[in-house]
């Protein structure tokens, strides 16, 4: 098992390196470079940079060197100094911006994740066991709609409903009086209240998908001979259900973990923009609009890395849960 995990982790390393290539390439994509944007900013504040100044600055920053050298410098700074470059919009190092928003981003993502699995697995089991019942049709209908509705627009609808029912669109993650307050019970409650809409909105599409995966798996498993064997042994239906089909159906669900992490980030990006959440989405959006490419690139890098990590975790979990893989490494 340990051997497998190590092998799997080592396999992820080249992936990470390639991801950094792509991210660096994207950072370089927009017309103009750091210096030209910088000079544009200077011009806006009334100072003028000459061509010589700009060339000097390019030389200082190494921007006149070939692309691969620039990549090497960029990667070296990240690995050795944790330096991801400088953000214009925020006028501070990228890492500081990332740190500032990472906490709440993770909180929202994790809560969404828990919500997804906690809702999808029981419903998936229920709809499979009661196939073609009214409940099955209702949940299937909801999950179809959930997959077809762009989540950012669902956000608008829910905000509108909350505005008409509670007189508060619940924008953001905190009410005004708590934004700068230190942590307290009240602030936590306020946060929890504000998380309801984002969590539903971000999680709905994946939850809908998970329900369908779980239902499909359960239907497959419920028809397997091992269920009949268990029945022939004299086990009660409820014990059979949880011991055999559910346990087996959970395996593929676990493998969606990494993918689900990625879809949460994706969903969170736009939803956060619409709902004005102080998490990574709007930051990334503004960075992209303002061509603040070091910030945008770093976000992309972080998210890709988190996805790789998620896939890694689900692979290892999957192997750990699957006796076939587990026993392969036993004793060797």
């Amino acid at each position: 098992m340990l051997q497998y995990s190590i092998k799997r982790i080592l396999m992820a390393i080249p992936v990470v390196i390639f991801i950094s290539f792509i991210v660096f390439y994207i950072i370089q994509l927009p017309p103009g470079d750091y210096v030209s944007s910088y000079s544009a900013q200077m011009t806006a504040t009334g100072e003028v940079m000459t061509q010589a100044d700009m060339d000097q600055m390019r030389a200082n920053l190494g921007l006149d060197r070939p692309v691969y050298e620039q990549y090497a410098m960029w990667a070296k700074k990240i690995v050795l100094h944790g330096d991801f470059g400088f953000s214009f919009n925020y006028n501070k190092p990228v890492l500081d911006v990332v740190k500032q928003y990472m906490g709440l981003t993770l909180v929202v993502s994790l809560v969404t994740m828990v919500f997804q699995y906690a809702v999808a697995i029981p419903i998936g089991i229920y709809t499979a066991v009661k196939q073609y019942s009214a409940g099955d049709y209702i949940f299937s209908g909801i999950s179809f709609l959930g997959m077809a509705t762009p989540n950012f627009l669902l956000a608008i609808i829910l905000m509108f409903l909350s505005y008409t029912w509670f007189g508060d669109p619940l924008l953001g993650l905190f009410s005004n009086e708590f934004v700068n307050a230190s942590w307290s019970i009240d602030k936590m409650i306020d946060l929890a209240k504000h998380m309801v809409i984002p969590v539903i909105v971000i999680g709905l599409a994946s939850t809908a998908d998970l329900i369908r995966v779980m239902r499909g798996q359960m239907l497959d498993e419920l028809n397997k001979p091992n269920v009949v064997t268990a029945r022939a042994k004299g086990l009660s239906e409820i014990r059979i259900l949880f011991k055999y089909p559910t346990r087996a159906a959970l395996n593929p669900i676990v493998s969606t973990f990494g993918w689900s992490l990625s879809s949460i980030f994706t969903g969170a990006t736009i939803t956060a923009i619409v709902l004005n959440l102080p998490i990574q989405g709007p930051v990334m959006y503004n960075a992209l609009l303002g061509q603040d490419m070091f910030l945008a690139g770093s976000w992309l890098l972080f998210m890709a890395l988190l996805t790789v990590l998620g896939t890694l975790i689900s692979d290892i979990l999957l192997a750990w849960l699957d006796p076939k893989i587990r026993t392969e490494f036993r004793g060797n």
Binding site: K224, P225, N226, V228, T229, A230, R231, A232, K233, G234, L235, S236, E237, K243, Y244, R247, A248, P323, K324, T327
Partner: protein
């Protein structure tokens, strides 16, 4: 006669007029259509037929483990020999989820299946799955259950039981898995073992070993066996009595020797002819039965074998359902060729 003697003559299990219907998009399928048979204590009954003839559904109906879609009617009387209860029980009258039927499944009537790979869950160790039945029916003590399970694994010829106990199904070979399956079925010392194509998925040599094992365990434990198979060779080796099923009906039933030496129904004859024989003429092609089994959906009352039969009587065989004819006390055939009356069966 003493009551004891009467009891001895009464069969362990009597199936009467068993019908299983399944509603389909385009009509009602009579998957099993009026089946009667008896299984005597300690004896082996073979149920033989092509795939799709309803033999598996019949065997599973005994312990009510067919899917919900199967509408089952008829009576299945089970006469328990053990304990003080000595009751006659109509198994079909029990709710399939009731405690009563669950206490019979696995305990009094156990079952082994065709595919030992899929019949075990790949998620749990063999030991775990064998112990399950023991823990439900025999003891609540895990240590004791494990002891019984290990003993049973030994009985079916699995060596190194301690190690095997903690292995997963995929670590077993096909033959080993079927042995483990048998040990699981016999772990609660049942009175009837239903074996649904127990050797179909196995190599011929392994097949012989498993059949031999089943026979020796039958001698040791004294249980009756209902052997469901499509293989007449296995029937010849294992059974005391044979019922030939075709399209949801038993078309011929007789003691094994009688059936092999004196087959009556054209279908039975066809089956026997299609068996390879030692010393037979190798240059001759084996006979086969023409055509394929039709779907028993919206079937008019007629002989299901009509279209494939070489001896069919037009206007008789395709006009009525076929009644039973008793050639002798223990030889029954459902064919107009042997019927005194050309009147239809009253169904």
């Amino acid at each position: 006669m003493t009551t004891q003697a009467i009891r001895a003559e009464q069969p362990l299990l009597s199936v009467q007029d068993l019908k299983i219907r399944i509603q389909m998009d385009n009509g009602e399928m009579r998957a099993v259509d009026g089946v009667d048979f008896e299984i005597k204590k300690g004896k082996t009954l073979g149920l033989v037929g092509e795939s799709g003839c309803g033999k598996s559904l019949t065997s599973r109906a005994i312990i009510s483990i067919n899917p919900k879609e199967c509408e089952t009617s008829g009576t299945i009387i089970y006469r328990s020999e053990e304990e003080q209860t000595r009751e006659e029980l109509n198994l079909l009258s029990l709710d399939p989820n009731s405690k009563k039927i669950r206490s019979i499944r696995g305990r009094k009537i156990a079952m082994i299946f065709q595919e030992p790979m899929t019949a075990f869950s790949p998620m749990y160790t063999i030991g775990n799955q064998i112990m399950e039945a023991i823990l439900i029916h025999r003891t609540k003590n895990k240590k004791e259950a494990k002891k019984i399970a290990l003993e049973m694994l030994g009985k079916v010829g699995i060596s190194d039981q301690e190690k095997r106990f903690d292995q997963y199904p995929h670590e077993f070979s096909g033959g080993m898995r079927q042995r483990a399956m048998i040990s699981m079925a016999l772990s609660c010392n049942p009175e009837l073992l239903i074996a649904d194509e127990p050797t179909t998925a196995l190599d011929v040599t392994i097949q012989a070993q498993v059949l031999e094992l089943m026979r020796s365990l039958q001698a040791e434990f004294g249980m009756a066996i209902l052997l469901v198979t499509h293989d007449l060779g296995i029937i010849a080796q294992m059974c005391d009595e044979v019922a030939v099923m075709y399209l949801g009906k038993i078309v011929e039933q007789a003691p094994v020797k009688e059936l092999f030496y004196n087959p009556k129904h054209p279908y039975t004859k066809g089956l026997l002819k299609s068996m390879p024989r030692l010393g037979g003429d190798k240059s001759k092609r084996l006979d086969s039965i023409e055509g394929s089994v039709p779907m028993p959906i919206n079937m008019p009352p007629m002989c299901g074998f009509y279209e494939r039969c070489s001896d069919r009587i037009e206007g008789v065989c395709n006009a009525r359902s076929v009644p039973k004819t008793h050639i002798s006390d223990d030889h029954m055939v459902r064919c107009f060729l042997y019927s005194d009356s050309r009147e239809g069966d009253s169904i």
